[in-house]
């Protein structure tokens, strides 16, 4: 009789304590989750962001943007080569942070023939996968219209790639640059899939995604991205939208500019002059 009573008491005690612990556990997790949410909300505030962790550069003072005037592009591909050298990008024809496409309308055709320097024929013309040139395949054809179209990561204001990253390895900085944290990337390539512009690539040897960073290591020191610096025709412009005299502010003010795929909702920050109906 006493044993039974003790057993019941013990059981009841254990049950109550167990439930209490479980309850505490749930409450604790709920609490930390909420706290994390709260932290995320305040994290975007300028107050916190003003304390940018590198000295000499205040990311709240800049709003970077990029411009491309495709009517000036001569397809020399110096930008592509410079980017590869500056950023140590894999030196073959499958990994580009920026690239140039060629659109050719033959006489009588309604749609353009599109090729890029990564095309097999162009690789054969250049002689190797690490040197880039466009071949002259249309020299005997009747071409009615043709142009080059440089492409690059658009560093969107509402990037799909950032939204889909499961681990927070890609993000947008306060100065408008979308970056990748290679230490956190797990290589799932969801971002590569999500980008509507095909701007992201995957590095097989490292198992991480990669993309154009607008040469963040240069722009934070007052330099230009390398592709802008080497372009001989002034096709590529870069600058601070907060500065009305910066090249990109003047570019936007003096030209009628467009963006690629505005319907995607990504709000790209790369502005084009000279887009054509077949360019996507």
């Amino acid at each position: 009789m006493t044993n039974d009573k003790k057993k019941t008491e013990r059981r009841e005690f254990l049950c109550t304590t167990g439930k209490a612990l479980a309850g505490l556990g749930v409450a604790a997790s709920g609490g930390t989750l909420l706290a994390a949410e709260a932290k995320e909300d305040t994290a975007g505030l300028a107050a916190k962001a003003a304390s940018f962790p590198t000295k000499d550069y205040d990311w709240t003072k800049h709003r970077w943007a990029y411009g491309i005037d495709a009517t000036k592009c001569i397809g020399c591909l110096r930008c592509v080569e410079a980017c590869k050298v500056e950023n140590d990008v894999v030196g073959d024809a499958n990994h580009f942070r920026t690239w140039v496409e060629r659109y050719v309308y033959l006489e009588g055709e309604d749609h353009a023939l599109v090729d890029s320097h990564a095309d097999q024929q162009n690789i054969a013309a250049s002689g190797s996968e690490s040197e880039y040139r466009f071949d002259n395949r249309y020299k005997d054809e009747k071409v009615s219209k043709a142009f080059f179209m440089p492409k690059i990561c658009n560093h969107c204001a509402h990037p799909a790639c950032v939204q889909v990253c499961p681990v927070g390895a890609t993000f947008r900085t306060e100065d408008g640059v979308v970056l990748i944290d290679h230490d956190y990337c797990i290589g799932c390539r969801y971002c590569v899939q999500a980008c509507p512009y095909g701007a992201r690539l995957f590095i097989e040897e490292e198992g991480v995604s990669d993309k154009c960073t607008w040469c963040y290591h240069r722009i934070t020191k007052g330099l230009m991205p390398v592709c802008v610096e080497v372009c001989p025709t002034g096709t590529r412009v870069f600058g601070d939208l907060n500065d009305a005299s910066s090249p990109v502010s003047e570019f936007i003010e003096n030209n009628q500019v467009q963006v690629l795929k505005p319907e995607s909702g990504n709000a790209p920050m790369c502005f084009y002059v000279g887009l054509d109906k077949d360019v996507s």
């Binding site: 604790a28 002259n136 043709a146 390398v226």
Partner: protein, 258 residues
């Protein structure tokens, strides 16, 4: 309510609670401390990405030592082409403050200038008309085994047709005119160039045979010409001055063919 729940459900709930607790503990250990500082990412990644050392140094860096290039490059059409585009970068420079060029990934002086220059200047249908372009089969290359573009074109100032070597030779060869001629020569030079090389429609005088020079000037003196300017100038010169000028210009090095 807890008393009415079946036992197996209660055990499940305990199990879930425990797993949740484990997950939270793991998260707090595995998440980088700087995560969530600015948003859903590791804040320390930003200074890491901003701290890379730039590889391209920019033309100002090269001109610091190679300032003899500044004169022609900075005024020519190729001022838009940065030094490192044609001459390659040097990663070593970043690490070696002595500016050692031995680590250059490209040959500093291109061995195949046709290949280098046609990167931008080969006629392609997609290139805008404002870009000077050549069709390889139609462009007059020098008659050599390995023709080079710089035989005719100064790569640093392409509008000047002389090669750097020819330009240097001509600069050395120019003689100063005698004191009494200096004034007259400076007046001729305003249209005919300091080295008598001519400009646009104004013909070159350098290397002109003295007899030809004298005859032309005599024609101008007698008003036998459509060029009112030259008639005016010729009449300001005495016959002796014309002979001296003829001798001076005959000895100047001939400019390259246009």
């Amino acid at each position: 309510m807890p008393n009415n729940l079946p036992r197996h459900i209660v055990r499940l709930l305990f199990l879930l609670g425990f797993l949740l607790f484990l997950a939270l503990v793991a998260k707090s250990y595995l998440t980088d401390p700087s995560f969530y500082e600015y948003g859903h990412y590791r804040a320390d990644a930003v200074p890491e990405l901003a701290s890379g050392e730039p590889v391209y140094k920019g033309s100002a860096y090269c001109l610091d030592c190679h300032d003899q290039r500044k004169a022609d490059w900075s005024v020519g059409a190729h001022v838009v082409v940065q030094c490192e585009v044609c001459h390659g970068i040097n990663r070593e420079i970043c690490l070696n403050p002595g500016r050692d060029h031995t680590g250059n990934v490209k040959s500093a002086i291109a061995k195949d200038t046709i290949r280098l220059c046609t990167t931008c200047h080969l006629a392609l249908p997609a290139r805008p008309a404002s870009q000077p372009q050549i069709v390889l089969g139609q462009h007059p290359f020098p008659d050599e085994e390995t023709p080079q573009c710089y035989t005719c074109h100064n790569p640093h100032s392409p509008s000047n047709r002389e090669s750097p070597a020819e330009e240097a030779a001509r600069a050395l060869a120019v003689t100063e005119p005698a004191a009494e001629l200096a004034e007259a020569v400076s007046k001729c030079a305003r249209c005919h160039g300091k080295q008598g090389q001519g400009r646009n429609r104004t013909p070159a005088l350098a290397g002109m045979e003295a007899a030809v020079f004298i005859e032309l000037m005599n024609n101008y003196k007698s008003g036998n010409s459509e060029s009112k300017t030259m008639i005016k100038f010729a009449n300001r010169l005495s016959d002796e001055e014309i002979v001296e000028l003829a001798r001076y210009y005959e000895n100047l090095p001939v400019p390259p063919p246009d």
